[in-house]
Symmetry: C2
Amino acid sequence: MTIKDIAKACGVSVSTVSRVLNERPDVSEAVRRQVLDVVERHNYIPNTSARDLVRSQSDNLGVVVRGTGTPFFSDMLKTVTKEIDAAGYNMVLRQIGSDDDEVKAGAILEREKKLRGLLFLGGRYDYTPAELALVGVPYVCCSYTNQFGSLKKEDFASVSIDDHATAYRAVTTLIEHGHRRIAALVPSCSDHSISQLRCNGYIQALEDHGIAVDDALIVESGGFDMERAYKATCALLDSGTDFTAIFAVSDVMAIAAIKALADRGRCVPEDCSIIGIDGIELSKYSLPTLTTMVQPVEQMARESVHILVELLRREGAPRHILLDTTLREGGSIRQL
Amino acid sequence: MTIKDIAKACGVSVSTVSRVLNERPDVSEAVRRQVLDVVERHNYIPNTSARDLVRSQSDNLGVVVRGTGTPFFSDMLKTVTKEIDAAGYNMVLRQIGSDDDEVKAGAILEREKKLRGLLFLGGRYDYTPAELALVGVPYVCCSYTNQFGSLKKEDFASVSIDDHATAYRAVTTLIEHGHRRIAALVPSCSDHSISQLRCNGYIQALEDHGIAVDDALIVESGGFDMERAYKATCALLDSGTDFTAIFAVSDVMAIAAIKALADRGRCVPEDCSIIGIDGIELSKYSLPTLTTMVQPVEQMARESVHILVELLRREGAPRHILLDTTLREGGSIRQL
DNA sequence: GGAATTTTCGGAAACGTTTTCGGTATTTGT
DNA sequence: ACAAATACCGAAAACGTTTCCGAAAATTCC
């Protein structure tokens, strides 16, 4: 079932059918109706390959994610898929490991799949202009860092939260509850990732409240996963350093920390308070319910693809959206 | 950069370049090397649209998932993506809601994206032959049910666990610990889904051990999500029915149940034992650590795409793989 | 009513591949 | 050394679209 068959069945030319299908104005209403009718009846679907070939472009949007499998990104991915679909594009997904280079991965994907645009979910962008030049399509970065300023505002779009401020607020919350010996559970505080931004927020909050930063209280797990967060917390406990609260960079890490504490006989929040960041669904079902800074995941995902689509339609310049996080009180913080 | 450019640069014809690229035998070693060299230097990538057009087929594998966002399927998806990629195919993902029809979704996807094959992740297959005839490419069902036998063994491939036996084993474990008033937390026991299979395993285990099935102990939440599992557990508690253990159909439901119990002042496992199914990573970090029947997720995912690829290469008939589940002891069961 | 537009449509080229068919070279067999 | 087989390669058609160009038909304008 090709466009020729439809043309024949309608007694018109292929070009006319094509015009109808592409909603071009120069076709009479009568013909349009008839063609549409025949198309419907034969339920004809245009051949994407042929179309892409002649247009020399596809409807593919690349999504490169670092760390699928984490609830946060898997939630994000869920709405991203939906939105991309709704916008009439195809999603081609590439997940990369923690050691991979997102820009390079994006560039390869772009060539392989003839992408129209790219969406980076998570990641660290300390790239040189030369590296960034590898990607030749519009792209938006979601939940990203740009610490070195290697990304030029006018070259790309973004949607994110203010990681520094969010961490600041989380730690301040702990301080307001009377805590002063607050540990930070972070994947790393010098990898130029989001982890570092949040770590800085932690430090800033302490300083602003006249609390000395104790390096022994900053534990670097080496990754966002539960296993390493668990081990890092154990290491902290074993070190003998005393603390009354933990600021965890993500909810999953917070949950792993709670487990580590419990395994060492410490209860949350009686013996130790804890706060996370993300607001994943699971955090509502932990024991105790996790107090956390929730990110508007759905909105972030939605805005991301909307912006990308806008960019592709050449409507307006790249936008940079900063969304608010909100504190959701659970039972994991105790007033001292 | 097209195949013509490469041909020109090599002083050979397009056909020859094409042959080299497709690893056909009838090309001399000298020419092959030269072409490959030029291709490498220009880092030329063939135009997929043109190729797909003339071959009138793509390298797309469709994956339709019911219920992304759940840790189990998101884990599965992770390796599925990787494997499909490694096999040189593209994954096109379609996630469907709980009310959607997977076969129809697959059939639509198949036409839209010119799929070579389909992979169904999760789902209920009580379809008529006519409905199944809609899908015209090889497909494999992973983690599925086929209660009505509408799928003919020779028409498709599958990989799954023995849901009945797994549930049976889980419940038996509770019984062996002295429990006799065991509640079942299930999405539904009559929807022809995996939930129903596991529910039947529960019933069978009780009967085989001489325990009367009490309908009041079977709570149907209406879905696999935490929220409904939580509410269902609350309803069970409110009903006043006494029980000493809960068999949850999935780990996330079990975790939600633990939360519900805790919120009503009941501790696990002191006041109530609980066992789940899935073995998601999170279950290792719940309080207490969840005792659960773990599914070999990675293996399931890997086998699924391997089988699909085999099918596409017409190597051997559709296979049906049944994988083993193993009990992982946590601390959520108490000996009575 | 005739010229000038405008609307509507068909013909044909083009997109970048794969593949069939046939034709030279080259090798093999005797 | 000559025929036959084989290895290697090029020309060209085909895949199903879109789009440019021009032509016919319908409409508008004076």
